[in-house]
């Protein structure tokens, strides 16, 4: 009887932990539920197509226009632009850390990368606004320093740590046997990196890149403070844009409760959520495939 008791107790404890472990799923479920609940009513007013592809965002006019295409384009452009900066820098830094840096150097640089990751985004946004923007405006003689380029620069800075540290893990975990095999055949270190290490760690590196971009597309404060906020398609690098998170953050407080504007902002949140959700699923799929086939995949 006493045995049974202890066994039952263990079962209860296990189930309790299981229950708690579901917290993440539940939270995710609630997020999805409430996002959709508050966002979907806008589609009584505009069709999904008009919402997503509409060119005009005049939520407070009479009659209003709820087209978030410029916002989506703003988000995508800013993300791509920042990726063109952050991917090379992040992956190259990762290569440096994993393959070239002396252990001592690695010990110093890795924490620095982690520190960058922990800088509050509002500080980076603030920096972009008060230091970088006037600088850009002066150097390039443009109407405003708060623009796509500035935002991309700041976003790149924010996503580099993600890209760098995840790729570094992937690169570092390439088995030494492959490194030795290549060097033993008379390859230089660089040739080894390019022909063996990178191909072998490509899935880890791509996961890193996707997660980095996911971070950039969802980042709020930086684009809110730095992107300039014009809800129009940009024609040049230095045009202001209004990415989705910026629009939500700037307008939510002003939108009358459960009004059309409010619902439209939630619907924008849904679109943003779907974007990042796809990024994460892809990253997860790559990471999963990578795990199954072991450390030596092509």
């Amino acid at each position: 009887m006493a045995f049974l008791n202890s066994r039952t107790r263990e079962k209860i404890i296990k189930n309790m932990f299981f229950g708690i472990a579901l917290a993440c799923i539940i939270t995710l479920g609630l997020i999805t539920l409430f996002l959709f609940m508050e966002g979907v009513p806008i589609f009584d007013l505009v069709s999904v197509k008009d919402f997503v592809f509409g060119m005009y965002w005049y939520p407070t006019s009479d009659p209003p226009d709820f087209g978030i295409f410029p916002l989506i384009v703003g988000s995508i452009f800013v993300t791509i632009l920042s990726a063109t900066i952050s991917i090379p820098l992040g992956v190259m830094s990762a290569l440096y850390l994993a393959e070239i840096a002396k252990p001592k150097m690695r010990e110093i640089v890795k924490p620095i990368v982690e520190l960058i990751a922990s800088l509050p985004s509002v500080v980076i946004g603030f920096f972009g606004m008060v230091i970088v923007a006037p600088f850009l405006q002066e150097v390039f003689d443009i109407p405003t320093g708060l623009n796509m380029f500035n935002a991309a620069l700041m976003l790149a800075f924010m996503s580099i740590p993600t890209i760098c540290s995840i790729s570094e893990d992937a690169i570092y975990s390439v088995p030494n046997a492959l490194r030795e095999a290549s060097l033993g055949l008379g390859a230089t270190k660089l040739e080894t990196i390019i022909r063996v290490i990178l191909p072998a760690s490509i899935s880890g590196v791509s996961t890193a890149v996707i997660l980095g971009m996911s971070r950039a597309i969802g980042e709020t404060m930086v684009v809110l403070m730095v992107a300039g906020g014009a809800a129009a398609l940009p024609h040049s690098l230095f045009d202001p844009v209004r990415p989705m998170p910026a629009s939500i953050a700037a307008e939510m407080a002003e939108a009358p409760f459960r009004g059309d504007h409010y619902h439209a902002l939630f619907a924008t949140g849904v679109v943003l959520f779907i974007f990042t959700f796809f990024f994460n699923i892809i990253a997860d799929m790559i990471a999963h495939k990578y795990k199954q086939t072991g450390d030596a995949t092509l």
């Binding site: 939520p59 109407p143 906020g229």
Partner: protein, 248 residues
């Protein structure tokens, strides 16, 4: 007691200035002031989550209906006037613009300063967030319900607009009277210079009253606060200090 004030970012500086002075006189009052916009304030009044709602526009019919359904009766108090002044870079020689010209510029139809008698320079349009009360007034009184071109630079506050125009010789913007400074140049509208007098006598075409709403007739700290705001020697002095046009 606790006193929560929410709403219009335009009224926010008034609420804050007056609130600080009010707290000095009534140290036991725990004051919380937030912006959030006129709509947000009125929503909070309807929900009963705030004591006072600031608004830079009058309550809408829809909102009144909603309030009555929930059994609350918002009471408006006019606390100040605001006038919105077009501004340009000090180096710009343009002195006056008609409302039609302003509308043309903001619609994106007038693209060069020389079309309105200025230098041969491209016009860079600076505007406010579409969801600000200030923008709503601009849209209503200048644009006649037509829209500001989406390519306009968007700034989040009056101060930011002033800054943007001060640093850019192509730019035009609009700000509340309280934000005027020497780094920007005010332009008269339809020949009328924006000032306290032209606002009060109604000559300046782009002006509006500012409100505070309460839920039902105010009592306790709330009524004390509103009396303080409306007091010609106390609140209204601070309104003027904040750069707005006092009621009297």
């Amino acid at each position: 007691g606790k006193l929560v004030i929410k709403g219009s970012t335009t009224v926010l500086p008034i609420a804050q200035k007056v609130g600080e002075a009010f707290m000095k006189q009534n140290p036991d009052v725990e004051l919380s002031i937030s912006g959030g916009g006129s709509g947000n304030g009125i929503k909070a009044i309807i929900d009963g989550t705030t004591d006072i709602a600031d608004a830079s526009r009058f309550i809408k019919d829809k909102e009144v209906k909603l309030a009555i359904e929930k059994g609350s009766y918002p009471v408006p108090f006019r606390v100040a006037y605001d006038c919105i002044v077009p501004i340009v870079h000090p180096s710009n020689n343009v002195k006056d613009l008609s409302l039609d010209q302003l509308k043309g510029i903001y619609k994106g139809e007038i693209k060069n300063w020389k079309e309105v008698g200025g230098p041969d320079l491209k016009i860079v349009v600076v505007s406010r967030d579409t969801s600000s009360g200030t923008y709503e007034v601009w849209e209503g009184k200048v644009m006649n319900k037509e829209r500001v071109a989406p390519s306009a630079l968007i700034q989040a506050s009056n101060g930011a607009v002033a800054q943007a125009v001060a640093g850019n010789k192509y730019a035009i913007g609009y700000i509340g009277l309280g934000y005027m400074n020497s780094e920007v140049k005010a332009v008269s509208a339809n020949g009328v210079v924006g000032s306290k007098e032209t606002t009060l006598n109604g000559a300046f075409p782009i002006s509006r009253p500012l409100f505070m709403f309460t839920q039902g007739w105010p009592e306790g700290d709330t009524v004390n606060f509103l009396n303080f705001v409306l007091h010609p020697e106390k609140g209204q002095k601070l309104v003027e200090e904040a750069g707005y046009v006092p009621l009297y």
